[in-house]
Symmetry: C2
Subunit: 179 residues, 2 copies
């Protein structure tokens, strides 16, 4: 298949969103802390931080913002999003705790989303992002999907970097450890 | 936790390797073709191609090369590896076919690896890579882990890119679509 971008399709978006908790569970459940706790340097996320960040997004970002668009349109800007909220919110929680939270929140949020039975007209409704300005509901939902995939890639990358020196000359073929 | 690299630990390496088939299954099983078939342009991999490439590696790369090191050391260089072998090898196979193959091959290869009960002395044994030259068995096994994680990140990225234009202004915050 050649390159070509998908048009936003709500059922396709949901097909990714509904898989994310199981993907992180398959990757992280039972994994030694040596894989889940290191990060990529100051102000970066470990695998554990990525997971907590996804949980925070379920609570405060995607569906709450979609609701603001549906109820208020651009008249009420979204609340700003705290990219480091998981530092305090995850405190005392284990990886299995966060995996369970992500699964519960995501299931509940997708139930809400499906319940709305959004039409194309509603997907085109606009909201006001505090920094990015005018956005549509479809863009918000597409961003939710890409955000999941971005944090999956980031989780794989921070894990891979733990072996940057261990792979010796293979470093030339495995650019993920230098990204 | 601060940044810091893990030393190679065989049981930790296996803990990632044994999860990979389930991670890809959770991510790709049942997903619409619109997510699994597009790639990032000429000579790049779709999600489907990434999966076929991992299966090819199980058959011809990691454990076969480890065996060459254990049996011949540097006297017998590894066979070169065909990065695009999956183009013909995957022909006619579905995503579920490839997920099953990856699961079977990986389980069998990890059984072989565990059966060797490798010592530190053996992990330090050297082999001859056709392009990279002198490598150790530990480096080969670490590269297997990083290769898995790299293709997981690549699979997430090629999927994310399908929504590059759909996310509108969020593109500024979601760099995975431009990587």
């Amino acid at each position: 298949m050649s390159e070509g971008e998908a048009r936003f399709d709500l059922s396709h978006a949901i097909s990714v969103l509904e898989r994310t908790p199981a993907v992180f569970r398959a990757l992280l459940a039972g994994l030694p802390d040596a894989w889940t706790t290191p990060n990529e340097g100051p102000q970066t996320f470990s695998a554990y931080d990525n997971l907590g960040h996804l949980v925070h997004g379920e609570r405060t970002d995607w569906i709450p913002r979609a609701r603001i668009i549906l109820e208020h349109g651009r008249s009420r800007p979204f609340d700003p999003y705290d990219r480091f909220a998981q530092v305090h919110e995850s405190r005392g929680k284990t990886v299995p705790d966060l995996l369970d939270e992500l699964e519960r929140w995501r299931a509940q949020n997708l139930e809400t989303l499906r319940g709305w039975q959004l039409t194309d007209r509603e997907l085109a409704l606009e909201g006001e992002h505090p920094a990015l300005g005018r956005v549509t509901l479809a863009q918000l939902l597409a961003a939710w999907v890409v955000h999941d995939l971005g944090h999956l890639a980031q989780t794989a990358r921070v894990m891979a970097k733990q072996y940057r020196d261990e792979i010796g000359p293979w470093r030339a073929y495995l650019p993920i450890v230098d990204r």
